[in-house]
Amino acid sequence: MNTYALFLGCTTPTQVIQYELSSRWVCKHLGIELVDIDDFVCCGINQINLNQEAGLLLAAMNLAYAEAKGLDILALCAACTGALAEAVERLKDQETRDRVNGKLQAIGLKYNGRTQVKHISRVLYEDVGIDRIKRKIKRDLSKFRVAPHYGCHYLKPESAFEGFDDPDNPKSLHQLISATGAFPVQYESLNLCCGGKSFPVSKKPAFYLVQKKLDNIMGKKIDCMVVQCQTCYLMYSEQQKVINGRFRKQYNVPVLLYPQLLGIALGGDPINDLGLNLNAISLNNLLAKVGINKQL
């Protein structure tokens, strides 16, 4: 059994709890043990904007807490994964690590460079593996045509991810979707960013980027989009509704978080295990396709 410290981040446990719920359920179902560390704080990614050192210290603080328990981190948010993995990379430099540890001393912590960071999808892809996932499938999702969305920080900066997938031509999420029996649809704007990271400062770029991707995938006769980061989820799902109102559009693309899709295939309860009732765009039509006729 593989054991990880579960890094929830800020947004998932407060705004998108269905991601947390379905991740916990899927991990339990597939033999990944998750340990909660309630000393964890924000990964520091947005603080980098104002003060690089502060962002690095927050990341290092989290790494140190996981290291004290002898655990690697499993993160749900792509951006947390990117920020923490980049911190691991920066802290390989002895001079940087000594400087950071000098400051961590003030709160009684030290990071020795042992704890590593992986995104939940990477853990499912590498630790559980596509074949083992396939053997556990209980519901037939072969009628689902799914548009994958990776999330920028899942694979970038490239130097922080040991080349486990190619950021320019990524495959891992496609394969994870295939493993559930669903069909991953290829589309041109696959690597387009959701715009979430500067959304608090300016909505305009994000509204443009979200519409560009939705326009692209709407032409591909898809049943839903699958994301692996709660910020991407909020941009394509909650903001899809905002965009419909503000720009008089009629987008109607259901968005699932990957553990929710996998959870459906593994036979999870749509509400209690996967929180599908909490998703912003109705999933009733999607679920009817696999014989779940529950009105969420």
Binding site: R24, V41, Q52, K204
Partner: protein
């Protein structure tokens, strides 16, 4: 997207800050700037340049080299970056523009140009440890799904933030 094609004012050498470049490159994270040969691959791949032609990694790099300190640090566009890392993904010189931009944003924040959302998030982290408040309604909702309670303690994060001076950064009015 409507583009602003009007010609800019000529650059006045007397208004440039010749020390700006070295001030930036002094930071280890920005040293890559010296390797940039201004090919523009960064801008070609930029998610934001397409929407806001005013924002261009290539242009910013050139402006730093010329010493256009005030123009760079006061530009609202430097905050529009979505951090997609595309600028550095195909850079033939392996310049990490994402890191250079962070150096510029850090300098701009020191000069009083920090956007309020980032300052507010920092204040929140010092309270709850994360960028959101935690209230009764949230705890109730989490409980109804049998999710563990969140501790919401920002004291240690606050201590670290204070060590860097980030707590002193004021938002642009």
């Amino acid at each position: 997207m409507k583009q602003d094609n009007s010609q800019r004012e000529p650059i006045q050498v007397s208004k440039l800050d010749p020390n700006f470049r070295s001030e930036v490159i002094k930071h280890k994270d920005a040293r890559g700037l010296n390797a940039c040969f201004a090919c523009g691959t960064c801008t070609a791949g930029c998610s934001i340049s397409e929407v806001f032609p005013e924002y261009s990694p290539k242009k910013l790099a050139k402006m730093v080299k010329l010493g256009m300190k005030k123009e760079v640090l006061s530009s609202p566009y430097i905050w529009y970056c979505v951090t997609c890392h595309n600028c550095e993904q195909h850079c033939p010189q392996n310049v990490k523009f994402f890191n250079i931009l962070n150096v510029l944003k850090n300098m701009a924040a020191e000069k009083g140009y920090a956007p309020s959302p980032w300052v507010e998030q920092t204040q929140q982290i010092m309270q709850t440890g994360i960028i959101f408040p935690m209230d009764e309604a949230l705890m109730k909702k989490r409980k109804s799904f049998f999710l563990p309670t969140l501790r919401g303690d920002g004291k240690k994060a606050k201590k670290l933030i204070e060590l860097t001076g980030l707590d002193k950064i004021k938002a642009k009015k």
